[in-house]
């Protein structure tokens, strides 16, 4: 793919018209006939036992069909493993309506199903429940001494590497030292679309399930295992997902409840959660981090100590890679990284955009800034001096790493050279101005993915893979890859996803979709191309006779000889000439482990931020951000830029606004709505520049892509905190940097 018509070109979303006209349908929007509505009743208490549920009065309300609770759920799968989804951490997954036990506040304890949404909502409000309540513990800060090393179990989790060098002595003897505690509270994904499932009952335990998820196959296997159904009878469809950010990686409980109600009532059922109930499941865990860094006189890092304590539930060990990054982002020979969990009476946390890394990089990148000041170095210069040319955690070379270019190109675009280092030294009228830098590193990974490609006699190509579209642009980039591979115009290509009837694709997450599904799509198209070439060679006077697939290129609707592009066959002519209506091929791609395992595969970024601070009033505006990203090949600069813009907004949000506030007396998140759980609005967002640093990498995967959904968030919150320090001389290590903290 050295010359390209589509890959790497800014391309408008192919699903754009559907989205801007409201034609794109999300899980709660399939208005199938004879639909009943379920409304979830959430526990008012945090821990204890339900002693009685008073359903009689509820069932007497006209239009109420049933109240499901632990009292009347039929016998379902017994073993924990039946409830484990693709990314379940170690432990025993939560089973909705399984027993009288209440394990966390807002636990779903019943679902009221009625003829209309309004009746279900009304009836749910009248349900009386008695509990025996026992004391709960929800405060991580009270569990500082109760941390434990988690066992394994969660996909993608790497325990911190063993200490290297002599971290204690090195820190002790360092010329410059910083240490401190860094805190962020729980944060909830809050995608715009609330979780919902519409189950269409097709008779005889056959279901069509429209689910809000980041993985249709994950939902399918969850449902089939728990309810003992065959995969042939459960089709899960998820054509559009109104934001995921990780929240849809695990099946949420409304899926269970909707399927349960549908099977029991033998009719179609929809269960939607409320915005309040969006605070009743997984979240970025409240995490306490301790960092101690030491530097030598020459500004080289002498020691890195990074410890994290994160919350998890009583029933699962949710783990994420928080501290590991601190052993690989910079060159350092003396490193100690530790990670612990503490069990609380909360729901199990859940991957949320750049899980672990967003948390770890916020702390590390502030600490690095502090140490730069201690060492008397510009924070950017300090990072460059400690540039890691090799991944010391894994002791492997990087397959590619253009972080240095990110620093340079980002700094140039931002105008970093004009920064005066002294805190409080820059002003704009009455406002203090601060400039800060940060950055990070994120895994480039690839999963196995399958796809199919089908060329119709009219020249239209349909490519399918059961991946998801959560806003990342999957429809568009897969269309580009297919069009490029087959040499067809974009308009001739349709890509289908989000359906378990399609070839299997992995969960949409981890920034691996472009690499994984993209490779699968390319494989399917290549397989189709080979078949097409064979048919072309059968044509009368074919100029392609005797050549192999390697000898030809698919471009401008033709198959051409590389050696002589005038020797060509028009693709549209091939099927008619062979009397065929359709030509199909399957393909799948897996990572080349033998090759990849010799390298460390990562994307990097560097973020430059300007803040303006009204010191009197404690207000901060993030007025300018430049985010330079090196993430391999950028398939579609237009949608990729949007991903990074969104990441910056997320970083601003994390730094300045987001926290799920729990009242530990009740064990309940109290700002559980969109008015009080603040995320940025339009007026909060000013100039954001995205720089994609060119990075070629044929090791990471044949497409050379590293994924772009997460890396852009890294270091943003830290860069903001660092800019606030530069503006005010105040170091905030406890997010969010809300108004009261700067007075």
């Amino acid at each position: 793919m050295s010359t390209t018509n589509y890959i790497g070109k800014p391309t408008s979303r192919v699903d754009g018209p559907a989205k801007v006209t409201g034609a794109a349908k999300y899980a709660a929007e399939f208005n199938v006939p004879n639909l009943a509505y379920g409304y979830v009743v959430s526990s008012a208490v945090t821990k204890g036992k339900i002693t009685k549920i008073y359903t009689d009065e509820i069932l007497a309300i006209a239009g109420v069909l049933q109240v499901f609770s632990h009292e009347n759920v039929p016998s379902l799968a017994w073993l924990d493993r039946s409830y484990k989804d693709d990314v379940a951490p170690g432990g025993s997954p939560f089973r909705p309506l399984h027993s009288a036990e209440v394990k966390f506040n807002m636990q779903p304890v019943a679902v009221v199903v009625a003829e209309t949404f309004e009746v279900a909502r009304y009836a749910a409000s009248l349900l009386r429940i008695d509990y025996d309540v026992v004391e709960h513990a929800t405060d991580l800060e009270a569990k500082r001494d109760d941390g434990y090393k988690p066992g394994g179990g969660k996909t993608g989790w790497m325990p911190p590497p063993a200490p290297r060098g002599n971290p204690n002595d090195a820190l002790q003897n360092a010329a410059h030292r910083v240490e401190g505690e860094f805190i962020h509270q729980a944060q909830h994904h809050n995608p715009m679309e609330m979780f919902a499932t519409t189950v269409e009952w097709l008779g005889d335990k056959k279901l069509k399930v429209y689910d809000k998820t980041q993985g249709a196959f994950n939902s399918q296997q969850y449902v089939t295992k728990i309810f003992g159904l065959s995969k042939d009878n459960v089709q899960v469809i998820s054509k559009y997902t109104g934001g995921g950010f990780g929240s849809g990686l695990r099946p949420q409980y409304q899926l269970f409840l909707a399927v349960l109600a549908s099977l029991e009532l033998k009719r179609s059922v929809r269960v939607s959660l409320t915005r309040q109930q969006m605070f009743s499941f997984g979240h970025r865990p409240h995490t306490l981090q301790y960092l101690a860094l030491g530097a030598n006189e020459d500004g080289s890092l002498a020691a890195v100590h990074h410890h994290a304590l994160a919350e998890t539930s009583q029933f699962e060990d949710f783990t994420e890679n928080v501290v590991n990054w601190s052993g690989m982002l910079y060159q350092c020979d003396n490193v100690k990284l530790t990670y612990e969990l503490a069990k609380l009476d909360v729901f199990t946390p859940l991957d949320m955009r750049a899980p672990g890394a967003a948390t770890g990089s916020f702390a590390l990148e502030i600490a690095m800034d502090e140490l730069a000041y201690k060492a008397g170095l510009d924070p950017l210069e300090f990072r460059l001096r400690n540039y890691a040319a090799r991944d010391q955690n894994a002791d492997k070379p990087f397959s590619s790493k253009k972080l240095r270019e990110c620093y340079h190109e980002g700094a140039a675009k931002f105008g970093w050279a004009k920064r005066t280092p002294e805190p409080r030294s820059m002003r704009d009228g009455s406002q203090l101005v601060g400039w800060g830098v940060g950055g990070g590193v994120w895994d480039a990974s690839q999963q196995k993915a399958a796809a199919s490609a089908s060329l119709n006699v009219d020249g239209k190509l349909t490519v399918k893979s059961g991946s998801n579209e959560i806003g990342t642009g999957t429809y568009t980039i897969m269309t580009q890859i297919a069009a490029e591979t087959m040499g067809l115009p974009l308009e001739a290509v349709t890509f289908e996803l989000g359906d378990t009837a399609l070839p299997e694709a992995p969960l949409q997450g981890g920034s691996w979709t472009a690499a994984s599904v993209g490779s699968g799509v390319k494989a399917a198209c290549d397989a189709l191309g080979e078949k097409l070439l064979k048919l072309a060679q059968k044509m009368e006077d074919s100029p392609l006779k005797g050549v192999t697939y390697k000898d030809v290129q698919f471009v401008n609707g033709q198959i051409r000889l590389y050696s002589d592009p005038t020797q060509a066959v028009v693709i549209r002519d091939i099927l008619p000439a062979n009397g065929q209506e359709k030509l199909e091929a399957d393909g799948s791609a897996s990572p080349d482990m033998a090759r990849q395992s010799q390298y460390s595969l990562h994307a990097h970024n560097a973020v430059f931020v300007e803040v303006k601070v009204d010191e009197d009033l404690g207000t901060v505006h993030v007025t300018r951000v430049v985010n330079a990203v090196a993430a391999g090949r950028i398939l579609n600069p237009k949608t990729a830029r949007s991903q990074v813009l969104g990441s910056v907004v997320w970083g601003i949000s994390m730094a300045m606004m987001e926290e799920s506030v729990m009242d530990h007396g009740f064990g309940r998140y109290m700002n559980h709505n969109y008015a009080e759980y603040h995320v940025p609005v339009c007026a909060d967002i000013h100039d954001i520049d995205v720089v994609f640093v060119e990075e070629e990498d044929d090791i990471v995967n044949p497409l050379g892509v590293k994924g772009i959904g997460e890396v852009g968030l890294l270091g943003v919150a830290a860069a903001i905190a660092n800019a606030v320090y530069h503006a005010t001389g105040k170091r905030i290590r406890n997010l969010p940097i809300s108004i009261g903290k700067l007075l």
Binding site: S12, R13, G16, P17, V20, T21, G22, A24, K25, Y26, A28, N31, A44, V45, T51, Y54, E57, I58, I61, A62, G63, T116, F117, S125, L126, L127, R128, I129, Y131, D132, V134, N190, P191, M192, E193, Y240, T241, G242, G243, R275, I470, G471, T472, G473, K638, T639, R641, S642, L645, G646, S647, W650, N673, A675, V679, V681, C682, A683, D684, I685
Partner: protein
């Protein structure tokens, strides 16, 4: 230590439900009749009773703007009004602004500027922007930002949303002067 507590019903169950009646709504120029009780919001009427699912439910409490529609040309949150209250009003939803074959200039600009990602807040953003254009209060970038702040976009597409609106605003200005 155990103590007993009750999640109390939020009122005494009234077994008699509110009567449904015929409500006539004028939506996208068309009169639509539906049989609903007073407790059906305009948003639920659109989504659940009329299959106009382009209008989105993002919070159901007026805190996100995803449900924005135009009532008599003015943008409102359809989740916070009852359908029955809008009898006699002229309601325009995203479906009435344009179609895939015949896009509204804002819809085209949103595509051109990649002013959305997941697409869930998008119909609300576009309805809101359409009203913003007719209101005529937003002239500067800062004013667009402020007057588009009633529409939350969790994907963070604000930069491109503002660019898309600015483009249409400028084009309209040019057209007005021609």
């Amino acid at each position: 230590m155990t103590k007993q507590t009750t999640q109390a019903p939020l009122g005494s169950p009234a077994i008699a439900l509110p009567p449904t009646s015929v409500v006539t709504l004028k939506i996208n120029g068309e009169e639509r009749q539906l049989h609903i009780a007073p407790w059906t919001t305009l948003l639920d009427a659109l989504r659940e009773y009329l299959d106009l699912t382009g209008t989105k439910k993002g919070c159901d409490h007026g805190q996100c703007g995803a449900c924005t529609v135009l009532v008599d040309g003015r943008r409102i949150n359809s989740c916070l009004t009852l359908a029955v209250m809008q009898e006699g009003a002229d309601i325009t939803t995203i479906e009435g602004l344009g179609t895939e074959q015949n896009l509204h200039p804002l819809q085209q600009a949103f595509i051109d500027h990649d002013a959305f990602q997941c697409g869930y807040c998008t119909p609300g953003q576009i309805c809101s922007a359409a009203a913003l254009l007719t209101e005529g209060k937003a002239k500067t970038t800062a004013e667009i930002r402020e007057l588009m702040s009633g529409n939350v976009c969790r994907c963070g597409a604000y930069t491109n949303i503002v660019a898309a609106i600015e483009e249409v605003l400028t084009t309209q200005k040019v057209q007005r002067h021609e």
